[in-house]
Structures are given as C-alpha cells and as structure tokens.
C-alpha cells in the first residue's frame, strides 16, 4: 500500500530562521495521525506546504502521489480546516458554500446539505458577526463537501465550545466510518481525540523527532520510580522525561516497555517501580521530551 502522505527531508526557512530542518515522515492510507508540537514548532508551516500554499526550500512532498506544483490542484483531493477559518464577511453561510462549490470539481451538494443540517447551520446566517462556533462548522463543511481522502486539520476545535467540539468529533468519526480517510491533525487538546488517533508524530527542533503508535503509548508508557545504586549514572540521551533530579530517588517517564525493561535489567537501580500512565499524561510528557526535558 502506497503511503497517502510522504515527506522527505523537507526544509523551510523564513529569513534566517530555519523552521523545518529536514522533516521526514510518511502516513499510510486510513491512518489518523496527531501532530504534536509546541507553539512555533512549525505545524502550520508544514500544513501549508502539504497544501501547496507555501513552497518548501528543499525536500520532497507527496500527497496521494501528487507533488505540490504551485497551482494548488492538489487541494482538490485534500480537505483542510485552518487554525483560524476566514470567509468573506459580505456573504452568508449559503453563499460561502456556493462559492466554494465552484472551486472544487468533486463538490458534493448533497453531502454539503447534509452536513449543514447535521451541524445545525442556517444558510441565511451572515458571515460578518457569526460566532466562532458557526465559522468552525462552516470550515468543516468546506473541508469535507468535496469528499477528499486526505484531511489536514490545524487546530480544528480551537475556540469552539464543548458541544460544537463534540459535533465536530462526531462528524470526524462519521468520515472515518464512511471511507478510507487519512487524517493529519494538530490539536492542543490532543487527549480529546485520543479515541480516534492511530499514531502521534512529535515535531520538535524542525524535525519529526519520534513516531509513537497510540496503542503503544496507551499500554506501555509508564512512570518509573527508583533509586540509583551508589556510583551508577543514567546513560545520557535516553528518550525519557525526568520528573525529579534532586535527591537519591529518580522519577522517569518512559514511553515504551522495552526501554523500561532495559533500565530495570541494567543493574543501575536499587529498586525500580513501574506505574502505568494515562494516555493524556503521556501526550503531555511527550511535549516535555521535546522541550529537552531529558536527563543528561
């Protein structure tokens, strides 16, 4: 099966600031991927490159076998929800959708109508003065009505209240049920999407630092508490987060059983206790890993 998204050594700078420094990753069709990274790590830049809205300085990008060529034709098969949806203020919701339908060959009027109904949108609502919730829902209809097989979602639920977030999540689950969709999602509330994610990509320092299957995080991530033996030191550069470095007792978060097993077998500890870690916590600690919260 050919990957739906392939990124190879993608680089992009703004002036002297290198934001992407060689992003390499690929997503198999049907996978739901969470793009995890702190603010300013380049998530939005990566989305824009995947959408052919911004050119990479170097490297190669493929979405469904198509490379961005500056014409934007790739967007015909991609559904995009931007971080801050913006539409023409002088239009109504219905007019926005009619306008969008002229831009997409595969626009499916029946699907658009059904989404408008499911999400409780009124086509007569003017865009100017519309609530964030309304704009967020319109963005969803615009992203999904041409029935794309790849979705790029940049903070799709930011600023939306709990009920709208649930509507959006339900819609997303419906999309996953009805077709073979590949999703790349950046979300500051990643734990809300925990049930639908297949894997998490950690974007840090301009590269995808690590890829974590969510099943592995859920079942294997753990907190280790132990006492180092006299004179023993923890090897530098391990992919762990140190929660405590003062005193003789160490507290570490590890994200894979094999690493916990290795530490337990290393003979460096007097005793080492393992406690499971909730997925939401693991996702938070992964960000600490990207913060450089390593033990060195």
């Amino acid at each position: 099966m050919n990957p739906a998204i392939v990124l190879t050594d993608v680089r992009r700078s703004f002036g002297s600031k290198a934001v992407l420094r060689g992003v390499t990753a690929s997503a198999l069709p049907g996978k739901v991927i969470g793009l995890l990274g702190r603010n300013g790590e380049g998530k939005t830049t990566l989305f824009k490159i995947l959408l052919d809205m911004l050119a990479a300085d170097s490297g190669s990008v493929q979405v469904l076998g198509q490379s961005p060529d500056g014409t934007g034709s790739l967007r015909q098969s991609v559904g995009y929800v931007p971080e801050r949806p913006a539409f023409h203020g002088f239009m109504t919701v219905g007019e926005v959708l009619a306008f969008r339908s002229s831009l997409f060959k595969g626009w499916h009027a029946g699907k658009a109508d059904k989404l408008v109904q499911d999400l409780g949108l009124d086509p007569a609502t003017p865009i100017r003065g519309a609530s964030k919730g309304t704009l967020g829902k319109v963005a969803w209809v615009c992203a999904a009505a041409h029935d794309p097989s790849v979705f790029l979602l940049d903070e799709p639920t930011s600023g939306l209240d709990a009920l709208v977030r649930e509507d959006v999540l339900n819609h997303l689950i419906g999309e996953l049920h009805d077709g073979f969709k590949t999703l790349l999602i950046a979300n500051h509330r990643m734990e809300e999407l925990a049930g639908v994610l297949d894997e998490v990509w950690l974007l840090q320092g301009g590269v995808i630092r690590s890829v974590h299957p969510v099943e592995t995080l859920r079942t294997q991530a753990c907190r280790l508490t132990g006492r180092l033996k006299e004179g023993a030191v923890l090897p530098a550069g391990l992919p762990v987060v140190s929660l405590r470095t003062d005193g003789p007792v160490l507290e570490l978060v590890v994200f894979e059983r094999s690493l916990a097993d290795m530490l337990a077998a290393s003979g460096s500890f007097e005793s080492l206790e393992r406690a499971p870690l909730a997925l939401g916590e693991s996702l938070k600690y992964l960000l600490r890993l990207s913060e450089g919260g390593r033990h060195d």
Partner: protein, 123 residues
Amino acid sequence: MIQIDQTSPIPIYDQIKAGLKGLVTKGLLRPGDQAPSIRSLALELKVNPNTVARAFRELSGEGFLESRRGDGNYISEAALGQAKDGLATVRQALRHALLGARLAGLPWNDIEEVVGKTKEEQP
C-alpha cells in the same frame, strides 16, 4: 450502553469486547439480539470506527458474535456461556491481583480503600 476508560492502559478494543460481554452477562443483551452498529458505537464512545471493527472482528472470531448476510452482527447462542466463562477468568485475575498486593505488603485496609474508591467511581 458500555463505558470505556480513556485513561486505562487496557487497549480500547479489549475494553469494548469486555463491555459487550458484560452486557450479555447482565442480561441486557441476549442471544439473537442485534449488536449495536460499528458506527453508533464509535460515535457513542468517541473512538475510531476501526477500533470498534477490530473488537467486532475478534468477537466474531471467538464465536461471540455472528454476522447475518450484510445485516449487521448478532449475539450468538454461545455468547452467554462465553460471557460466564469470561467472568471466571476475571475472578481469577482479581484473585491474583489481590495476592500480589498482599505479597507487596499492601494492608487489607488499603485494598478495601481501593475497592471503595472504585465502587464510588463505577457504582
């Protein structure tokens, strides 16, 4: 219908399987009943439909569910017995966990506290 715990280290598909078996044990679903659809269960639990599909596939493989030509999944005749057998396994696992806790030095009072707290969360 069933509940899953997103913070648990137990895989979601295993939680879904256990939940459906629990419904049969409690008599809420009976042999011959139609199982909820993958779509409705995914929406209700806020999980990936593929995860529900995996749970259903495994339950079909175990003979707990049977599919009728393109008409969804049904609770099989064997399901009741299977769910009851499953209960015996759960009892045994609980017994092992308790023995482990005692070995580790956890006093009975603390164990009862854990039981009490869990009961409050999941009456």
